[in-house]
């Protein structure tokens, strides 16, 4: 099916789902069908035995099925971490690929329990769409990629340029905002499918391609000759990415928030998938012992097993390991996503006590 039709059908289907869902469970608790988002998502996931996680339809490094059809990627690992915390089994996740257009309705209507899908935390999404963002696991920003032969050094020189951009995200708006703010004239070419966009860019229909820098790196890495393309140093927007849940899912949101902090804290403490067993047995630091569940009751306070973090680190590694395994191969540096203890790093976890 044609991509637009697919999006429209999907969006219509979701809209119909929203329409068909029975009124609030509070009014009809006995007959709430699966279509209505449950009042307590955490209990619903437990009862179902699997987590339903909305991910990207396919973006190298973040969410992409491998040759065996197993989903791999940075965002995918965050879904798996939740499954480990709840069931101690990284495979009890059903991944639902969502396009930029249908992702929000999919979460709103209860089709997925959570989104872990390169989604930017913005004011309006947090307030008027009925979502709660649970943290920032990737600090991104929108940039430009141009052909090296064009001789462009920075984005300001793109005055008058034609720029390819994919619709359905805030990318288009950022581009327009940036151009207005800098009194620069740009001409957009808005093509729906990523592949067609890249083809138009490669054919010279556009002088530049714009999306989040992480996406540019992923695209540049698979070009026939990556060195012919430059990612300009200018970053024109802030794109803090992170998982999100429905508004009102406080306990589920707490779990997601502290899984991310736990992964960051583990990196800070130097606990990796290799040495977690050893640390559990003999690390003398009290906070590490609480994090790994040897002492204290942190897991139970979240409503999961006390060994939740130890299990996650054993299965997936700490934040740094997850980053390197998934995003290292596409050429992304840690940059702002380094720990706060590194120069320029922003990843910081509140204390585990």
């Amino acid at each position: 099916m044609h991509p637009t039709l697919r999006h429209l059908t999907a969006a219509t289907a979701v809209a119909l789902g929203l329409a068909a869902a029975t009124p609030a469970p509070a009014q009809a608790p006995a007959q709430a069908p699966a279509a209505a988002p449950p009042a307590n998502t955490l209990d619903a996931i437990r009862a179902r035995g699997t987590l339903i996680c909305g991910v990207n339809t396919g973006l190298a490094g973040f969410a992409l099925p491998d040759s065996q059809g197993v989903w791999r990627g940075f965002d995918v690992d965050y879904c798996r971490a939740v499954a480990i915390a709840l069931f101690n089994d990284a495979n009890r996740v059903r991944f639902v690929p969502t396009t930029a257009q249908v992702r929000f309705t999919a979460l709103q209507s209860g089709e997925v329990d959570m989104l872990s899908r390169n989604t930017t935390w913005t004011f309006s999404r947090d307030t008027s769409l009925g979502f709660d963002f649970t943290g920032i696991n990737f600090y991104d920003g929108q940039g430009f990629m141009v052909k090296r032969s064009l001789g462009v050094q920075n984005a300001r020189q793109l005055d008058g340029a034609t720029i390819c951009v994919q619709p359905g995200t805030t990318t288009e708006q950022n581009l327009a905002d940036w151009a207005r703010g800098n009194r620069i004239n740009i001409r957009p070419v808005v093509i729906e499918r990523l592949e067609d966009n890249i083809a138009a860019y490669n054919a010279g229909r556009c002088d530049a391609y714009t999306t989040d820098v992480s996406g540019l790196a992923a695209i540049r890495a698979v070009q026939s000759n990556p060195n012919d393309h430059v990612i300009l140093p200018d970053v024109i927007s802030k794109e803090p990415l992170g998982p999100l849940v429905r508004h009102g899912d406080q306990r589920f949101a707490d779990l997601l928030r502290w899984i991310h902090f736990g992964l960051v804290a583990a990196e800070e403490f130097g606990i990796t998938s290799q040495n977690v067993q050893q640390a559990l047995a003999s690390d003398p630091r009290p906070e590490v012992q609480r994090l790994l569940g040897r002492t204290g009751d942190l897991g139970r306070m979240l409503g999961v097993d006390n060994a939740w973090m130890a299990n996650i680190i054993r299965g997936l590694g700490n934040y740094g390991e997850i980053f390197e395994r998934n995003l290292g191969p596409i050429g992304l540096q840690r940059g702002r996503n380094a720990l706060w203890t590194q120069p320029g790093g922003l990843q910081y976890a509140p204390p585990f006590r």
């Binding site: 429209l8 929203l18 769409l129 009925g130 008058g160 340029a161 951009v165 808005v190 138009a200």
Partner: protein, 400 residues
């Protein structure tokens, strides 16, 4: 001769039975079923509506069309009316509707002209012409439209870049950024001249009608073209001259990345128009051929017996009768062009679907966004249908 009383159907009016509240009474049965069906459909619609509203409210999702008044902030490459990202969503969506109308109307006109020629060519006595038209129709009809659009778009992208643009004549540039043509600086005088052209066209139509009426009376044919020339060209030029005859050429020049000045035809618009026209012309050709073949052979022979040449037979005798058969299926093709123009998103032409999609993504109001898209297509399609039905009734065979 025949009067109502002779017609057996009117001989004896059916007795008016009294209304009985019984299942045996047909009228009671009809009433019950109709009320039941209308009630069920209405109830279902109400249930959908109220449930959606309720669920949206419970999930704290913003609803309503307030967002239309907010700043859109989305960039649009081509627009028939002035637009910049600081304008509202309503304005952006209007630009989208106009872009859809632009490509749909141009497509309808071009596909009709091309399709009619192809349909006539299919019936040509020239073997080569007939076979070429035959293969054109077969190939174009059998390939998915989306594929054809992507093909034309890829082909247009294969043109050289703006710095190596083809420059057949001074001021005309063809590159992968589209076709650039010189134009004039638009001033009010030009708008008034256009108004004069429209009035001239109207006047010419009335004049022709009056002349035809006179010809019907005395049989003397009268020339219309001198009047048409005067009304549609002389008068507008006069208006333009009277307003100071402004004329400043606006020639495109290459500056920086792209051309400045002049008017352009973007590759996206061109690929979409080309794809829609060539694809639909294939179907229209078959409709026209069917319409011509539906006219009885005797009509051809009778017209030829009057000594009319083949071209006149076609235009004066056969085509007017074929139109009766052609118009109803043609309406469907016009609707198809309009709806197929929504494939524009695939090749980056910003029509209503493209802009509404971005809008619903930026505002998160999917239901409203899709409702707007449906409303726009429904309005355009119903307008085309109404017009074509009116035209169909006008040209239908007047039966006695």
């Amino acid at each position: 001769m025949s009067s109502a009383s002779d017609d057996p159907r009117h001989a004896r009016p059916a007795p008016r039975r009294s209304f009985r509240l019984s299942w045996a009474d047909e009228r009671v049965r009809n009433l019950v079923w109709q009320v039941l069906v209308v009630g069920l459909v209405g109830g279902f619609v109400y249930w959908l509506w109220s449930n959606t509203a309720h669920n949206l409210e419970v999930r704290r999702i913003a609803t309503g069309f307030d967002f239309l008044g907010r700043e859109a902030g989305l960039p649009i490459a081509e627009s028939l009316i002035p637009y910049d990202p600081s304008m509202t969503y309503l304005r952006a969506l209007t630009v989208g509707v106009l872009n859809t109308l632009k490509v749909a109307l141009a497509g309808i006109v071009l596909a009709t002209i091309l399709g009619t020629f192809l349909g006539i060519a299919r019936l040509s006595r020239n073997w080569l012409v007939a076979k070429l038209a035959y293969w054109y129709v077969e190939i174009v009809r059998d390939l998915p439209l989306l594929l054809q659009l992507l093909f034309w778009y890829a082909l247009l992208q294969g043109l050289p870049g703006p710095r190596q643009a083809l420059n057949p004549i001074e001021g005309v540039y063809l590159s992968n950024r589209g076709l650039k043509l010189p134009f004039i600086e638009w001033e009010p005088a030009h708008s008034w001249a256009l108004v004069a052209v429209a009035l001239g066209l109207l006047a010419t139509l009335f004049y022709r009608r009056a002349m035809r009426a006179r010809q019907m009376r005395d049989g003397v044919p009268r020339r219309v073209w001198p009047f048409a020339l005067l009304a549609m060209i002389g008068a507008p030029v006069g208006v333009w001259w009277a307003m100071g005859a402004p004329f400043t050429p606006d020639v495109p020049v290459l500056r920086g990345f792209n051309f400045r000045g002049g008017v352009d035809l973007s590759p996206e618009f061109f690929a979409l128009l080309l794809g829609l026209t060539l694809y639909t012309a294939g179907f229209i050709a078959e409709i026209v051929r069917a319409g011509i073949l539906a006219v009885h052979q005797g009509q051809w022979e009778a017209a030829q017996a009057l000594g009319l040449p083949r071209g006149k037979v076609l235009s004066l005798v056969v085509l007017p009768q074929a139109l009766r058969v052609i118009i109803p299926p043609m309406t469907s093709q016009f609707l198809n062009i309009t709806k197929n123009s929504s494939l524009a998103v695939a090749i980056g032409y910003q029509d209503i679907v493209s802009i509404a999609n971005t809008t619903l993504n930026q505002t998160g109001q999917a239901i409203e966004g899709i409702a707007i898209i449906m409303l726009v297509y429904l309005s355009i399609s119903l307008s085309i249908s109404l017009f074509m039905n009116w035209y169909n009734a006008k040209i239908a065979l007047v039966e006695r």
